[in-house]
């Protein structure tokens, strides 16, 4: 079947980006879907033919990604996030309101085909919750009233999507975000006027690759994606000699619930990211990079495309960069809705056009990664930290934080605080101060109950842990993890059973299904917690819930199993009394009318 000229152009561009045709599959599917509304059998067959794949292979891939659909949706496809951060700010109520307002249920389309509705998992707007996506447009702080206005505006075709702000705080130390408030901050001219690409020049002209790696090592920069692995050490694992090409891959698949910081880095200062990636290329001898951007961040993909074009035009990408003979190509790549693809080896599979199933490790990506070549994979924020480290020195950067935890990081404060937002704070910033002073205290003057310190996969902490300095080691000592730096605050009226349920529901939705304990464990827990929360709990369920999580923990194929198990175990352990309170056979004691939950 024929595709439009624009689509043909996009396909041609895609095919030129990758050494392996199949890599173009997922973007091709998504772009074709954008144009046609859904992936009809004809489109699937055509794309399969073009990429020399079987239809089954393509369908297997499609069915893995939640953004790809084989049935039509409305002209405006509304996805309302009810994940933990949005839930705490009324996301569930918004979704219930939307159903009533539009007169359709989840997954349904209005008869006139104008709107379709979907309850979605975290879309990366946690600090501006509740939020929704209308096709690729973000709308923040959506109250029921705003929703009604929005629907009217969308009908009339007059609607400007929201761009998240940085509220600012006097406690901030702005390294990564120093250019955020400049006018036209994403343009290369602004970047160049404010130290832009100076670090790359220094790295190329004044430093050896080993010296770059040493500098990053000395900065104590630890991975900002969640695991906190020392970045310099990771780069050091890449073999100097390799028969296969080496790659730099930037993980911009930000999807850990509670996390929406990479969004700001790409939105406000894309060149900082590009520079960091190219420096990594210089350090390990790679000449090709990809930025894997989650599919929902389409506007960021466009910002990155523009920035990359600018960088090519000014000679910071492409052949013979800064006249040094160093070549580096960079391309953005879109995901299509899968949390699992944030796991580095699953991301590589996805980038190769396959289902996002993690790989067996070892070998680690640094040795055998993308297309079998040695690959450096880091989070957006990690790469963004590199130019400053190169310019101002590793030691300077290290000193900004605490021992073994260098620098600053973007913390995302969400949930029940008065001033949710993204704040750049030094590593080791005290948690209590973060909630009380940076976040302006608990919402509505209520009492603090619990905090998830590093995204929804990290164990919950209670008031005893409030004096923990927010760095990797201190949070670990307190019994949790700093993770992606997403701090989700919950006040006294929060039902912790409900929180556990919402968290497990997410992991059940996102489990790739590859290994038994995660596939079966998350779905079992989801069913049991749903029953439990709605008043059907039995005494033995409390132990069962904990057991199931424990039986997943440490035994799954990839870290997603642990990510699902840890918060559940910690909530059962720390809030057993709330589970007991649910045993009366009555509905949840915290919620007047708990919303109907689908399993």
């Amino acid at each position: 079947m024929p595709f439009s000229a624009q689509l043909e152009e996009k396909f041609a561009k895609l095919l030129s980006r990758y050494p392996v045709r199949r890599s173009a599959l997922i973007p091709m599917l998504l772009y074709a879907q954008d144009e046609h509304g859904h992936l009809s059998p004809e489109i699937v067959a055509e794309i399969a033919r073009r990429l020399e794949l079987s239809v089954l292979d393509v369908e297997s891939t499609i069915s893995y990604y939640s953004m790809l659909r084989q049935k039509p949706a409305g002209k405006h496809h509304l996805q309302i996030c009810t994940n933990i951060s949005c839930l705490l700010r009324g996301g569930q109520e918004l979704f219930e309101h939307a159903k009533k307002k539009l007169g359709i249920g989840a997954g349904e389309t209005m008869p006139d085909g104008l709107f379709s509705l979907e309850e979605t998992e975290c879309i990366g707007a946690c600090a501006w919750a509740p939020a929704l996506l209308a096709n690729y447009d973000f709308y923040h702080d959506v109250t029921p009233e705003r929703f009604d206005r929005l629907v009217a505006e969308l009908r009339n075709g007059r609607c400007v999507p929201d761009r998240p702000p940085m509220p600012g705080s006097e406690h901030e130390v702005r390294v990564l975000s120093k250019r955020f408030n400049l006018p036209d901050s994403a343009s290369i001219d602004t970047y160049l006027a404010h130290d832009g690409y100076r670090a790359l020049g220094k790295a190329l002209k004044e430093m050896t690759p080993d010296a770059i790696i040493e500098e990053v090592k000395s900065s104590n920069l630890r991975g900002r994606g969640g695991a906190g692995f020392p970045a310099g050490m990771k780069w050091g694992f890449v073999p100097k000699q390799s028969l296969k090409p080496k790659y730099i891959v930037c993980n911009a698949d930000e999807s850990e619930p509670g996390t929406c910081k990479d969004r700001l880095l790409m939105q406000n200062d894309p060149h900082q990211l590009i520079e960091g990636i190219v420096i990594a290329g210089v350090a390990v001898g790679a000449h090709q990079g990809y930025i894997y951007v989650r599919g929902e961040y389409r506007y960021l993909q466009e910002i990155l495309e523009r920035a990359i074009e600018e960088a090519y035009a000014r000679g910071y990408l492409g052949k013979n960069i800064l006249g040094t003979g160093f070549d580096f190509d960079l391309a953005p790549h879109t995901g299509a809705g899968a949390y699992e693809c944030g796991e580095e080896s699953a991301l590589l599979e996805s980038l190769e056009g396959k289902r996002g199933i993690p790989r067996i490790r070892p070998p680690f990506p640094a040795v055998v990664g993308l297309y079998g070549g040695p690959t450096v994979l880091n989070n957006v924020e990690t790469f963004c930290s590199v130019p400053s480290i190169i310019l101002q020195g590793g030691e300077w950067y290290a000193r900004l934080g605490t021992p073994r935890n260098g620098g600053t990081r973007l913390f995302v404060l969400s949930g029940h605080v008065n001033r949710p937002g993204v704040y750049e704070l030094p590593m080791g910033f005290p948690l209590r101060k973060m909630i009380e002073e940076v976040g302006g205290g608990i919402l509505g003057g209520k009492k603090f109950k619990a905090v998830i310190p590093g995204g929804s996969s990290t164990p919950v902490l209670t008031s005893e842990a409030l004096d923990t300095p927010m760095d990797f080691d201190s949070v670990a000592k307190a019994g949790s993890m700093l993770g992606s730096g997403a701090v989700i605050v919950m006040h006294e009226e929060t039902c912790m059973v409900r929180a556990a349920l919402r968290i497990i529901r997410f992991y059940a939705h996102e489990s790739c299904g590859w290994c038994i304990p995660c596939r079966e464990g998350t779905s079992w827990l989801n069913k049991t917690l749903t029953r439990f929360h709605s008043g059907g709990g039995r005494q033995e369920d409390i132990r069962l819930i904990h057991d199931l999580a424990k039986n997943m923990f440490g035994r799954t194929f990839c870290p997603l199993g642990d990510a699902a198990a840890m918060p559940i175990m910690s909530i059962v352990e720390k809030f057993r009394d709330e589970f007991e309170m649910h045993l009366s056979g009555k509905p949840c004691p915290f919620e007047a009318q708990p919303a109907e939950l689908s399993v």
Partner: protein, 762 residues
């Protein structure tokens, strides 16, 4: 050999080859490590998490299926932590698994059942609603029950990696993940059933076997598949004298786990409604039922007359005998003995589908250097292909005509990085595995071999654009030859495209290669090779000894106490022509249908035609006497596959009214009043072992379900290189099997039969 690695497992010290997976090291030492997804020879998954073990210094349990042994590794497989992990995995698995074991085909031989019995989780704490999906039929032979599936991905991998078909994949994700077939709601594939066989649970079940019986109610008879020339071992499951299933239950024998659709399902011809169960006699122009006594007497008295009227002045030749590609070695041997010693004729032949005589002749004539170390003919066994570093394939379409050898070739390419060189006129499926491909026009295969032999003048005949649009340039030719020349210990596999002098050229080309070049000639049917070896040939005695050679004749004359004519007989086509023209008194056809596709009436009355076979095919319809024969599944004996591997047939069932070809032969001899024998298959084999070159092999392997290679080595006599008669392949595909295949219900049922065509021109 690298230094072994020393590891400790459960306080036992083990020495293991470096690079071994821990699970293999444990299993080799008899230490049980359970696993669903791990499957030797297939890619690693680490998905089922059943093989978690404790490794000292590792922070958490490790999957033994992905960890390679390292020096000093200390492993524990039976700690409380490991036991708990196994138990909890089973609990997870059983959560959504339907407990319909009492009606599940897999009950009694289910790996999940066994594991739960062994490792616990018998009581479920799961009280939620189970996920349910309706059972699906994917093909006449493949059913899928999604809730039973544990997602070990064995089926997906065996179809993709093993078969190269990729008809299965996973769709959806998380708890909704499911195995799916390649055409929405159904499969279009080779219907090999490997996915069913490899399924550890009852998720994939066989349409042929389902709901028939329980595994413990059957007897298992391992025998050799009755169809193609690869000779796979198939284990027939028999209940109440009825074969209800075919598989290779213990994965032993030359084919290990492999079976194609024919070996797995096409035993069903034996109970076809048209199966002959009574002798038939032509009376008043019509074939009518008769007793065995009557039929045997009729044949004997007519033959007696022919024998008595035999004289040099009679323009009609007395007898012609056409043997079978399917009957046992013992029967083939006795049949040609009967023809030569009793009927006094060399007019013996069969449908020849590979030029074994030419291969033997060329190899016997070739210099004896670097041959096997033993000085025997360099013929490769089927499993040698799996270990080959380079394979040259000329002609044939192994994927369809030799599924086991194709499997072995794929394994070699996938697991050992073997390089496959193909010279072919068609785009055969194995091109996917090929390292170099030289497309040739149909019938030009020998020119390509001439080119390899260094005859540059043949180059021109190979150049140009092929029908498939491939450009053959001098560079393509040179590259093919140069790459092949760099190889060592090549196995050359060739089909019926290469006969006579072309085979001689091929051996010449092979002897130019480095190391030891070995050969496999591809013949169509289960005992094609045995028919050749046993001398069902007009010009050759058993073991490829020329009838014209006095020494060769003497060898058999002595043993048979008879004389053999020194004149080569007529090949099959000549016998048929003579019979049609009334120049032959009697034609005796055993287990063959030479009139396939012809009008039987044209034959009637011209010659006294005796046919013994399973069905009333064209030849039988033209016969004067039809004798109902037992099939290979209803007799004991031996067969020799196309690679020369001798294997044992075991009797799995009886069809009332039939007799084995050997019994029939003995009855006829007795009725003729001629002393003839030996009478029992074991005794015949003993005679064969004593007198037929190559067959004096040890029987230990053969009797215990394995195979022994027979190498027809006899330096004394050289058979002629050029064939006396026609050699051609029937070009059967995966879903046909000569005349026999017409009577298999399953082969007729699968829809792919209609769409399976010859591959397009290269």
């Amino acid at each position: 050999m690298p230094e072994p690695v020393k590891i400790t497992v459960d306080d036992r010290d083990l020495e293991v080859v470096p690079g071994t997976l821990l699970i293999e090291a444990c299993r080799a030492a008899g230490i049980e490590v359970p696993a669903f997804c791990y499957y030797p020879g297939l890619s690693l998954q680490a998905a089922c998490r059943m093989c978690l073990v404790e490794i000292e210094k590792a922070p958490k349990l490790q999957t033994a299926c992905t960890v390679q042994v390292s020096p000093g590794m200390v492993v524990r497989t039976h700690t409380p932590q490991v036991a708990e992990a196994r138990r909890s995995m089973l609990e997870f698995l059983l959560a959504n698994h339907p407990l319909d074991c009492p009606v599940c085909d897999k009950g009694g031989e289910c790996e999940l059942q066994d594991m739960v019995f062994r490792y616990g989780a018998a009581e479920s704490r799961f009280v939620e609603e189970k996920r349910h999906v309706e059972e699906q039929q994917w093909s006449p032979v493949v059913y899928f029950d999604a809730p039973r599936c544990i997602l070990c991905y064995r089926c997906v991998r065996v179809c993709d990696e093993g078969m190269g078909v990729s008809a299965l994949s996973v769709v959806n994700r998380g708890a909704r993940s499911e195995i799916a077939p390649n055409h929405g709601d159904h499969l279009e594939c080779e219907e090999c059933g490997m996915c069913i066989d490899i399924c550890p649970v009852g998720a994939l079940t066989s349409g042929a076997y389902r709901y028939q019986t329980r595994p413990w109610e059957m007897q298992y008879v391992s025998t050799v598949c009755a169809h193609c020339g690869d000779g796979c071992k198939t284990t027939l499951s028999v209940r109440n004298n009825k074969i209800v299933r075919g598989n290779n239950r213990d994965h032993s024998g030359i084919n290990g786990e492999f079976l194609c659709i024919k070996g797995r399902y096409a035993y069903d011809f034996i109970e076809h409604s048209e199966r002959l169960r009574h002798p038939l006699l032509r009376k008043n122009g019509r074939l009518v039922e008769a007793t065995w006594d009557e039929a045997i007497r009729t044949v004997a008295s007519r033959w007696q007359q022919v024998l008595e009227n035999r004289s040099a002045s009679n323009p009609r030749q007395p007898f012609g005998v056409i043997g079978s590609n399917h009957t046992s070695n013992e029967e083939n041997y006795l049949l040609q003995k009967f023809a030569r010693a009793v009927l006094g004729t060399n007019h013996v032949d069969h449908h020849r589908t590979a030029d074994f005589p030419a291969l033997v002749a060329s190899l016997r004539a070739a210099p004896r250097t670097a041959v096997n170390g033993k000085g025997t003919l360099p013929l490769a066994r089927s499993q040698d292909l799996q270990h080959a570093s380079a394979i040259l394939l000329i002609g044939d379409n192994p994927t369809d005509q030799h599924p086991l050898l194709a499997w072995n070739i794929r394994q070699a390419c996938r697991l050992n990085g073997a390089r496959l060189y193909v010279i072919h006129s068609r785009q055969i499926p194995l091109l996917r595995q090929s390292f170099r491909f030289l497309p040739v026009a149909e019938g030009r295969e020998a020119d390509a071999v001439r080119y390899l032999c260094g005859e540059p003048q043949t180059e021109e005949r190979l150049l140009g654009t092929t029908p498939g649009g491939r450009e053959v340039t001098p560079e393509v030719l040179r590259d093919f030859r140069d790459c092949l020349s760099a190889e060592k210990d090549v196995i050359v596999v060739f089909g019926a495209e290469m006969t006579g002098a072309a085979v001689g050229l091929l051996v010449q080309a092979g002897s130019r290669l480095q190391g030891q070049t070995r050969y496999i000639a591809l013949a169509d049917y289960s005992n094609s090779r045995g028919a050749s070896d046993m001398g069902l040939l007009p010009h050759l005695l058993p073991g490829y000894l020329p009838v014209e050679d006095a020494g060769a004749r003497a060898r058999f004359e002595q043993r048979w106490n008879s004389t053999i004519s020194p004149t080569p007989g007529w090949p099959l086509e000549q016998m048929l022509a003579a019979a049609r023209e009334g120049r032959l008194e009697s034609l005796y056809v055993v287990g063959a249908n030479p009139l396939q596709g012809q009008e039987p009436a044209e034959f009637s009355g011209k010659t006294f035609l005796v046919v013994q076979d399973l069905f009333l095919h064209e030849t039988a319809q033209a016969a004067d006497v039809v004798l109902p024969a037992a099939s290979a599944y209803e007799k004991t004996g031996t067969v020799t596959n196309t690679c020369g591997e001798l294997q044992k047939l075991r009797k799995a069932g009886d069809v009332i009214g039939t007799r084995t070809d050997l019994e029939i032969l003995l009855c006829l001899a007795r009725a003729l009043g001629v002393p003839f024998g030996p009478a029992r298959p074991e005794e015949v084999l003993e005679e064969v072992r004593q007198i037929v070159p190559g067959y004096g092999v040890s029987l230990i392997q053969v009797l215990s379900g394995g195979a022994e290679a027979v190498i027809p080595d006899e330096a004394a006599a050289f058979p002629p290189l050029e064939a006396n008669g026609r050699i051609y392949s029937a070009q059967d595909n995966l879903f046909t099997s000569g005349t026999l295949g017409r009577y298999s219900r399953v082969l007729g049922l699968v829809p792919e039969r209609k769409t399976r065509l010859l591959p397009p021109p290269a």
